[in-house]
Amino acid sequence: MSETAGLPVFDASAVRARAARIRVAILKMLTAAGSGHPGGSLSASEILATLFFAPVLEFQTAELDWPQRDRFILSKGHAAPVLYATLAELGIIPAEELATLRQLGSRLQGHPDARRLPGVEVSTGSLGQGLSISAGLALGLRLNFELGAKVRLPRVFTVLGDGELQEGQVWEAAQFAAKYQLDNLIAIVDRNMLQIDGGTEEVMALGDVAAKFASFGWNALDVDGHDVEALYAALTRQPTPDKPRVIVAHTHKGEGVSFMRDQVGWHGKAPTEEECAQACAEICSCADWKDE
């Protein structure tokens, strides 16, 4: 499966199991918090599971500030629960801490706060900024590589929401990344087709996202964002020289939970205890589920 030498052998079923465990953690922490964003956290579960557990990213949990690490920036900061669940799965934060989500004094703020929480590169939450930050970071890392010992050129991965693409700044960043030929930048768009006020195509149509990025000079791929094998293949494909890459991951908001799937009402609402129990039962009964 892997085209990149040196990476561990890719185990799709293990990655799917991680995604399922991440989903359960998302639902439980949101239920405990009583507020937050399940829909766009569940839709990105395979994306983060593939990035961190296939793995695609090179990093060291024992040395989070390893200078040559690949960076991850969650541009759609409201999907913080999927990131926190991933950090807990990695052992970077204790699983018990997930229950403190959104509480006073917690490191798990409603949107990621880099000053409080290790493993978060930069605070996000105001949409439209992550691609610019990632592009600046990718450029800075490339300069460090060129001016330094040329040990390893780190890559920058960022996950954007599709509704987020309505922010004009995203396209300022898209121009910038193409001009500076940032082939160490990989953006993943969680194309779940929903935003707070309704469907993305009704609220403000985005159309063919991959074609838009391609017209800005990017290498653009469409994949099924719940197919970890397809995600892994797209994420590990050799970079197109001098071009940033965007992977448009076609997903379903609320994926994994029958009554949340494709339902706009589950953008920013926490489940009740009963809903959480039902949702977790569905996930735990799926073929991918494995206890630790």
Binding site: V122, S126, S132, I133, G136, G140, L143, Q169
Partner: protein
């Protein structure tokens, strides 16, 4: 007349890089005007041009800082602060990144470009942001010092720079510290607290006041945040009368900062000289300083009005 404060930007970035600091600059199609182009001519890889896209400029700077760079941003003050306010707030300050905003062309002395380009609210916008430090240099040498301080101190900074040539006030070897004002002239009857181009206007007003027998103490509140409360309060306890002088809206800037300090710790007579909650307009810089009542005669009148009252 000395060089403009903006002339310090490109030159100081070159010196700082020469000295071994890992400096970068990001500009938005104004590199010639802000003088970052000078830096780019010497260090081409270290100047990043984003085009007319100020929001991207700030967040690209944020990203570069995450790679370990000390990053200065350009553009004009009106766009480099106001157009990208959310990026400055939610990324630069919230994450406390090593980004130094140093846009140029603040205030009415922008001149003929008019009100759309004359930023009069930037100090207010930057001052209310947690983790942001605000420096307002009065001349070329103090601008260089402000930029050096910003580069050498971790975290977000705003350095306010102007377009026009400014009279020389400081020598090249003058030392500046964060949170320390400069008492430029001791006096007993009234305190003139100024920043930016108004420091020279306050000095001229003090000369005129001296002729009339009024002894004015002149303070350069170059470090607007953190503000040197101790120096200002000490002067106010001596004189009992304070005039603030700034090329900025009287709401939210130096006048407000000094009013906050005085009203909490030493209430006394205060007059704020500044732009009175208005937008600017086209004109010659000197003409505009008179029109908006930022000139030495206005400062002198303000001083006399409270000196008389405090004496009566």
């Amino acid at each position: 007349m000395g060089k403009a404060t903006r002339a310090a930007l490109g030159e100081t970035l070159i010196e700082l890089t020469d000295s071994g600091l890992d400096i970068m600059a990001v500009d938005a199609d104004l590199a010639g005007s802000t003088t970052t182009a000078k830096f780019g001519a010497v260090y081409p890889q270290r100047l990043v041009e984003v085009g007319i896209a100020e929001q991207n400029m700030i967040d690209v700077a944020a990203g570069l800082s995450l790679a370990g760079k000390i990053v200065f941003t350009g553009s004009f003050a009106v766009f480099g602060t106001g157009r990208a306010y959310d990026q400055i707030r939610n990324t630069v300050c919230y994450s406390e990144l090593n980004v130094k905003l140093a846009p140029t062309h603040a205030g009415v002395t922008v001149g003929p470009d008019g009100g759309s380009h004359q930023m009069l609210e930037d100090i207010a916008l930057m001052r209310v942001l947690p983790r942001m430090r605000v420096l307002v240099p009065a001349d070329y040498q103090s601008a260089k010092a402000a930029l050096r301080l910003a580069a050498q101190t971790p975290g977000p900074f705003y350095v306010r720079l102007g377009r026009v040539e400014a009279p020389e006030i400081y020598d090249a070897d003058e030392r500046f510290e964060l949170g320390c004002a400069k008492v430029l002239r001791p006096g007993a009857d009234v305190t003139l607290v100024a920043c930016g181009v108004e420091v020279d206007a306050a000095l001229e007003a003090a000369d005129q006041l001296a002729i009339q027998g009024v002894s004015a103490e002149v303070i350069d509140a170059f470090s607007l945040k953190p503000l040197d409360r101790a120096t200002i309060l000490e002067s106010a306890s001596k004189t009992g009368a304070v005039v603030t002088c700034e090329e900025h809206n009287i709401i939210g800037g130096l006048g407000s900062a000094v009013a906050e300090a005085l009203s909490e710790e030493h209430p006394c007579r205060l007059v704020r000289v500044g732009v009175k909650d208005r937008f600017g307009q086209s004109g010659d810089p000197d003409e505009l300083l008179r029109y908006f009542e930022l000139d030495p005669p206005t400062i002198m009148k303000a001083a006399l009005s409270i000196c008389v009252q405090s004496m009566s």
